[in-house]
């Protein structure tokens, strides 16, 4: 049999963690293989080893039946292996063109031959149905386009084996579709693709073959046509997932009201325009929409991180428009930001330190000595331990740096803090399950519904429509900074929502 990739008896020992434990995988040429498994299962580690970024402690790699040893990604590239990382490896300050050719620049005498590079890249784009302005700076491009740049970057290097580590975590459904089209195209050209994801629909849609990992080991391997989502989920988590929790019927009073809220940007454009919305006690409002249409701004303006240029925000009928972030946070507006690494957590800090972030000013974490107020470490640690227990955060101790937690567990820390430290009246959750494994997703979803059932109002922003449907009582769609529809979740279909999101439809009389 002719395998493109064989990784045999690979083990990888990090200080404190055995990330890969005697893993063997074989991948056929021209196939699309999905690597799935819970957070921290060792998927990224395994792929980093294949890409030469990490050296295996033991084990052997064969590419096209030839044994190889990689000392750096240069060696992997030489063997026509390319990788698109979970966190893009792009230089925002440079142009698309420069990013693509970086490390493999064509030269004419001493200079970089930009013309030749441009021609080549345009050709590559054409044959893969991608169209990106090559002179644009990466920083000016949306994530989905950046993703494409990453793919072009690997194609430009002439790779035959392409590794994609959670490429869809930050993509919109539309962008994901585009990506899948590209993947199928590549696969039809005979390229081998290894794809890491936590989204089982994607697995079913795009792959030929599935490898499941848990705790550093391969625990299952199957052809996609032989399995289904549910079986796969069981494989991954090792047990059946609990069903989504029932919703209680709740009639509540308004918690948060936005009246004509607008934000005008420096360039004169509106990122939010005349937003009117109300969320009641026990109501989950899901914001759907293609990212970049103001969802982030909406969350931030309610959380108090940006000021509206116009309009009013009321919390339980009190005007809080001029209250800053800190005041709102203490008054019960919790916010789970989309980017946990940049915003939600201080990665170099311990779980305990992170567990009070923002709430560290609350009297319950302070003690008085000689009339001065100091942080009370005992109480902080207790809180952290409590959170770890309640949320089943996998960690050696509350003093562990959050940087050493897996993505799902990091997310749990944020959620625990935002819901357990202060009783939130309103929970804003942006992409609450991004990059999180299905076990944790199920946990988080159920937890949010539980909060709702106990009368917390929630605003959920997600690019994952399934998530929106699972969680929401009401769904609103943002398009170019405006709310174009607001509907009961059980009265709308995905297809209809799609039309609103694309901007091709608009509700006539949005209630309120």
């Amino acid at each position: 049999m002719n395998y493109a990739v064989e990784m045999l008896n690979i083990s990888k020992q990090y200080p404190g963690t055995l990330a890969n434990d005697d893993v063997s995988i074989k991948i056929k040429k021209g196939s699309v293989v999905c690597l799935v498994g819970e957070n921290g299962a060792g998927k990224s580690t395994l792929m980093n080893i294949l890409y030469g970024l990490q050296k295996p402690t033991t084990g052997e790699i064969r590419i096209n039946d030839k044994p190889v040893t990689f000392n750096s990604s240069l060696d992997a590239l030489k063997n026509n292996i390319g990788m698109v990382h979970q966190h893009f490896m792009l230089v925002e300050e440079l142009s698309v063109l420069e990013n693509v050719i970086l490390g493999m620049e064509p030269t004419k005498s001493l200079y970089i031959d930009y013309d030749k590079a441009k021609k080549e890249i345009k050709k590559l784009m054409r044959s893969n149905g991608i169209n990106i302005p090559v002179n644009e700076l990466i920083g000016n491009l949306p994530v989905g386009v950046q993703q494409k740049v990453e793919i072009i970057k690997t194609l430009y290097r002439g790779v035959d084996i392409l590794i994609l580590d959670e490429p869809t975590a930050v993509l919109t459904p539309q962008e994901t579709n585009d990506l899948f089209k590209n993947i199928r195209e590549l696969s039809s050209q005979g390229k081998t693709i290894i794809f890491i994801t936590h989204k089982l629909d994607e697995v079913m849609e795009v792959s030929d073959h599935i490898i499941v990992m848990r705790k550093g080991k391969v625990v299952g391997e199957m052809n996609t046509c032989d399995t289904d989502k549910y079986q796969l989920a069981e494989y991954m988590v090792g047990k059946k997932l609990p069903p989504v929790m029932d919703r209680k019927e709740i009639q509540g009073s308004p918690v948060i009201e936005l009246e004509n809220v607008s934000i005008k940007q420096n360039n004169g454009l509106y990122s939010l325009k005349n937003i009117n919305l109300t969320i009641n006690e026990g109501e989950v409002l899901g914001i759907a929409g293609i990212s970049g249409n103001g969802q982030g701004e909406l969350a931030r303006v309610i959380a108090g991180m940006t000021k509206p240029t116009k309009g009013k925000i009321l919390l339980e009928n009190k005007d809080i428009t001029n209250k800053n972030r800190k005041e709102r946070l203490l008054q019960g507006i919790s916010y789970i930001p989309a980017d946990r690494k940049k915003e939600g957590l201080c990665m170099q800090w311990s779980i305990a330190q992170n567990s009070i972030a923002g709430y560290h000013v609350m009297p319950k974490f302070l003690k008085k000595i000689l009339g001065f107020k100091f942080l009370d470490e005992n109480k902080i640690n207790d809180k952290a331990k409590e959170m770890i227990n309640q949320f089943d955060i996998r960690t050696p101790s509350h003093n562990t740096n959050v940087n050493d937690l897996s993505g799902g567990n990091q997310q749990k820390v944020v959620i625990a803090r935002e819901t357990k430290v202060n009783n939130p009246k309103l929970l804003i959750a942006a992409e609450p399950t991004r990059g999180v494994d299905i076990g944790a997703i199920s946990f988080i979803h159920n937890y949010i519904i539980e909060l709702r059932n106990s009368k917390t109002a929630a605003l959920i922003i997600s690019s994952d429509l399934d998530e929106i449907f699972t969680l929401s009582d009401t769904i609103a769609v943002l398009y170019e900074g405006e709310i174009v529809c607001k509907l009961k979740a059980n009265e709308v279909t995905r297809e209809e929502l799609g039309l609103y999101m694309a901007g091709s439809k608009r509700q006539e009389d949005i209630d309120e």
Partner: protein, 357 residues
């Protein structure tokens, strides 16, 4: 586990010191002195006698202040390389206030001088901070320029408008009541400033690690987006932090005037601010760690004087050795070897850990 960690923490600098002393020995041999003799003089000078030890502490004092000033700013994410300039203005201020203040009891006039120095250090630090926030000018470049300006201007003040009785660019002696009392006899520079510096270190430690303010400072030092998320006004924070740092730097200058020279003398700092940055960084910006690194530096400097007086080795040689030492202490050679050694232990440990989860 804990003991291993302590051993590792101690072993590293020890290794660095030994290596650099060996390198130093190679340099000493051509001078005709035996390295062993030289080093024993160095050590004796630094720690051998009570007076010598006190002198080491005296030399450590300004470095502790500047180190703390730098460490505090670094912790909060601001690269305050302007410590040197803030020190100069602190020094000249303490001198002028000390000279021209009417005679008051010491418990009034000493604090007045110190506070004046702190305020001026603060104001001088405020400039780069505010320029950074309002006009987005790099704190780094303004600080470097302001350092030179502060030094030249202080020298000018001491040479012209406020020149004292000495035939050099120096102010008059400060009043008796503004002097920081000596702690180890009249001929030892160790003065109350050292105690003050230790106090500042402890206060900073508490401020950084035990208070809301410190929590927020450290947050903004690590990630501006995170600190914004938890409701901190990063701009305002930067200004406050740099100003506190400037105040401590001002104290460094005040100590040199009120405890050592009793007047401002041109070029009084001679790079204390820059050395302070190293003191801070070697201590990983930990205020209490700064006490150790500052004393280490102070001891080396002081021991070097002793060695120079007692042998025919000049102090330059020791500053070269000291430089090598600093680099070796800062370097992390152990990374690879320790990792590979631990590998086996961990494998078993990890398996056990699995059950716990």
């Amino acid at each position: 586990m804990n003991r291993n960690k302590i051993l590792k923490e101690l072993g590293k600098p020890l290794f660095a010191i030994i290596i650099s002393l060996l390198i130093g020995a190679l340099l000493i041999i051509p001078t005709g002195t035996s390295p062993i003799e030289a080093y024993s003089l160095l050590f004796k000078g630094a720690f051998g006698t009570w007076q010598g030890f006190c002198s080491s502490l005296a030399k450590a004092t300004p470095l502790l202040f500047t180190g703390l000033a730098a460490a505090y700013a670094f912790r909060a994410g601001v690269f305050n390389i302007g410590v040197e300039g803030q020190l100069y203005f602190g020094a000249i201020t303490a001198a002028l206030v000390g000279v021209y203040l009417p005679a008051l009891p010491a418990y009034i006039s000493v604090p007045i001088c110190l506070i004046a120095a702190m305020i001026v250090g603060m104001i001088w630090a405020f400039i780069p901070a505010i320029l950074n926030i309002k006009l987005d000018i790099s704190i780094f470049i303004t600080c470097i320029m302001l350092n030179s300006i502060a030094q030249l201007f202080s020298n000018y003040l001491a040479t012209y408008p406020f020149k004292g009785e000495l035939p050099i660019g120096a102010t008059y002696k400060i009043g008796e009541n503004s002097i920081l009392p000596k702690l180890a006899g009249p001929m030892n520079d160790l003065n109350l400033g050292f105690v003050l510096a230790i106090l500042v270190a402890i206060i900073l430690h508490i401020l950084l690690f035990k208070t809301k303010f410190g929590y927020e400072s450290r947050a903004s030092g690590i990630s501006s987006s995170f600190s914004k998320y938890i409701g901190i006004n990063a701009a305002k924070r930067t200004v406050i932090i740099v100003m506190i740092s400037g105040a401590i730097a001002g104290l460094a200058g005040a100590e040199q005037v009120m405890g050592v020279n009793y007047r401002y003398i041109s070029d009084i700092s001679n790079g204390l601010g820059y050395t302070g940055i190293t003191v801070a960084l070697l201590a990983k910006n930990n205020p209490l760690g700064c006490i150790i690194t500052a004393i280490f530096f102070g001891a080396l400097n002081n021991g070097a004087i002793q060695m120079e007086v007692m042998s025919n080795i000049s102090r330059d040689l020791i500053s070269s050795v000291q430089a090598v030492m600093i680099v070796f202490i800062a370097a992390d050679f152990a990374i690879n070897s320790i990792k590979s050694r631990k590998k086996n232990n961990l494998k078993t440990k990890n398996k056990k850990g699995d059950n716990i989860c």
